[in-house]
Amino acid sequence: MTASLTRYGLRFVALGYLLALLIVPVVMILRKAFENGFGPFWTAITQPDAVHALKLTLEIALISVPLNTAFGIVFAIMLVRHDFPGKSVLNAFLALPFALSPVVIGLALILAYGEGGWFGKDLANAGFQVVFSMPGMILATLFVSLPFVAREVMPVLREIGDEQEQAAATLGAGAFTTFRRITLPAIRWGVIYGVILTTARCIGEYGAVAVISGNVIGETETMPLIVKRLYDGFDKQGAYSVSVVLAAIALTTVLLMTLFKPKVEA
């Protein structure tokens, strides 16, 4: 009796927490966006600036997610399977993007790559502008979303151990074949979960991108940035509508990944 009371109590608390923090606000956004029907929503999200922001956001994500997925897997394998000097330092550095405020990350990137920065001049002379343009925004996005794949893959790698990889080696498989045929399939769920989180972060990042992009309307404005600008400019309809699109993209990512679940989980 008390056991089931505790169980129901726990469920109630957990659901209530979720409801207050997540579900109510999201539902409110949806309601506000469609308050005046579908027309105003459509107008808001098809205005040229919004369309450009959507395209820019997706472009940045399409470049950042594969890069950080590849590097995340490499980092995870290095940190779990290999021993080398400075390993603990690298491990700590991998937590830095979580620990550091995104605004600070944006400022740090401006300092490094801006006109007065370490590489800024050389890059500018080579005709390559980083700050206030897409390369800088990609850098900022890469930085903030770096740890997700590695953090998801590392515990899985530890759990599967290295016996399967050793068995593959004794059967004649070289390092790359072993990775492709044994390790990658074994860690795929860690990778997929990491990709979901990376994608979400790439699309939703505000602080670091806001600082380094310079907020040039119609040029370096991503979706989170346009939401903020519209909201500040009292275009609530526009802000809520673009927010809904952002939320829809996030939801679609999660759903797509869930659909790819294999039928036989060995």
Partner: protein, 335 residues
Amino acid sequence: MAIHALNVTKRFGDFVALDDVSLEIPDGSLTALLGPSGSGKSTLLRVIAGLEAPDTGTVSLNGRDVSTLPAHRRGVGFVFQHYAAFKHMTVARNIAFGLEIRKRPKKEIKQRVAELIDLVHLEGLGNRYPSQLSGGQRQRMALARALAVEPEVLLLDEPFGALDARVRKDLRAWLRRLHDEVHVTTVIVTHDQEEAMEVADSVVVMQKGRIEQEGAPQELYENPVNRFVMSFVGPVSTLGDALVRPHDLEIRHSPNGTTRAATVDRLVHLGFEVRVMLTLDDGEQVEAQLTRDEAAQLGIDAGSSVYVRPRAERHFADGDESDGQEPATVSQSSP
């Protein structure tokens, strides 16, 4: 020689896993590396396979120095204690793995996999996943996978260690038959002396990173070179400074000058064998082994006062088990 390891040393930090070990294993033999945990037997096997790099020393397979070759170029088959099954592949794909790596034609792979599935008695299970097999079946799959590529040598690292006693006994009898069929040079690592004696032509006893003795099972049992080997390859009772096999301990009702008085504590009936637990006059406890008929004839029971004497006993130079190859003295007296 199918396998020749020469002066192999391997340290893990301060721990010396292999201390200047040399070993030759003849072609087509089935050899057991026997020793307690930490004796270096698994490390030696992994060094031969290339899964562990020795600090010093060389390894040759069939006369070819493979010391600098990585594991995937050595052509050895390796079977792990915990199967190391590829969990995301079916049994057939697991077995085919080495052949696919070697880019053999599809038809040939299919035929070879079918043969191997028959060989290890997994008929009809080719499309199962490892998680749908029992431990014994998984290990037979792992064996078929290792044999598929026709390795020069087959290395088994405690292959039956994770299985229950019954399955283990079946599998080792099966492994012996398989070896008689396939003839591939095989090395099996085990800490179970019965397993080593039952399966292998030749047993290598290891302790603390060194080889204590190697020889045929009977040779080791009858002529152990030191106290450690004697007590590791079979049961022993200690009478003073002499080591006696329990079946070499005679129990009599009357003294005869060389006997010592003892009291029977307990009789353990194990079918054909009867174990007699005794306490000697000085309080030392020894164990004797009789056949059922001998025990019945003797007519002893718990509490009986008896006299015991060793029919054969062994003395080693000193009591230190880790001492190397000191000569043993044997005294034999007629019953």
